[in-house]
Subunit: 215 residues, 2 copies
């Protein structure tokens, strides 16, 4: 079972690595980090680089495709090699998935048209641009398309997916191995729960948060 995780400039690292450390534990799972070119791909801050070990051309029929989000998504909303690759691998994938604003890239590539999907809470409404129904849930499954909300939600998405692929028992075993028994020190992880003034402040900085310092 080949799992392709797409990297592009200014992606968000946890979007990719949270699901990675779940899906890489699937029995028979073989993860490849893929990008237009092999070599280091920098995140939105430039102080982290993950290495792409394969080019788009080298990964032609992954079983699972995962698109992380991040400020760089803004550069990936127009047609080009990345969209072509996504449309191509989606023809044979068992699961096409995203974390955070990665769903905007899938939507822009035309893969979510008419479907339900989610994204980072500050970005989810943008899905309407591509005739996608925005859903404010942490993990949204519509057929083989599985989308997650912001950044850290990719872990929940990947465990959900692991359960669908291998059954509850293996997924639970993975959850125990990565000791995913979350105990956040605050109840501030969603716009419904966080203090109103903090929600308002992030909304006001929405463009900066979603697209980065150069937006």
């Amino acid at each position: 079972m080949q799992i392709a995780i797409l990297l592009y400039d200014r992606f968000t690292a946890l979007d990719a690595v949270g699901p990675y450390d779940v899906l890489n534990n699937l029995p028979g799972g073989e993860v490849r980090f893929v990008s237009e070119q092999t070599g280091p791909v920098r995140n939105e801050s430039g102080n982290l680089a993950l290495v792409a070990d394969a080019t788009l051309e080298e990964v032609t029929s992954p079983d699972i495709v995962l698109v992380p989000g991040g400020p760089g998504e803004a550069d990936q909303l127009t047609d080009g090699p990345l969209h072509e690759w996504l449309r191509s691998v989606d023809r044979t994938s068992s699961w096409t998935t995203s974390v955070c604003t990665g769903s905007l890239i899938l939507a822009a590539a035309g893969l979510l048209t008419g479907r339900r999907a989610t994204s980072h809470w500050l970005a989810v409404d943008q899905l309407r641009k591509w005739d996608v129904t925005p859903v404010r849930e942490r993990v949204v499954v519509d057929g083989k398309y599985v989308t997650a909300a912001g950044v850290s939600s990719g872990i929940d998405m990947a465990l959900t997916l692991a359960g669908k692929i291998t059954g509850d028992r293996v997924a639970q075993s993975i959850q125990l191995k990565i000791e995913y028994d979350p105990q956040p020190p605050y109840a501030a992880g969603s716009a419904d729960k966080a203090p109103g003034d903090i929600v308002a402040e992030l909304r006001a900085r929405s463009r900066f948060i979603l697209q980065g310092p150069n937006a």
Copy 2:
């Protein structure tokens, strides 16, 4: 505020990247991935590489030091350049921290002697070897030493640390930005909660899980 995240061969990626995407959002935070040599450092599976942008010699006085865990910790329990660096930066650090079996490295370097600390649930008892009191909690704070349990617990640790450094408000804002409102599909993330047969199975494979395929 400089944050040094240590990389070594066969580390576990989420141990490093979970806290990274919290601490990198601290106002004035400047993260450096540091290792004995610059360049790609591979995780325990070999199919993921994070780039170290600085050598140990280049990072001499970080405010926060973070040591991830992973099967490669078994190679980092004897004295050498890495222990020397840890002891050196610990002299001036404000916080010395670890995720998962990273605490075994801190303990072996002599930095946790007489203190309370935690680690991955399968490894926590090993801390006794170095006169450290093992504590089965998700995040343990003992003075400036902050240790986290297995893999995913680094996110909780980093948010706890963010709160201590910058106050609750900034930490809550970071939590909302990364949408950390965990909703695991199972209640299987700790040995107390997971089905007993799964706990027993992982205990039986403990050496393999902690030290990797070559153990």
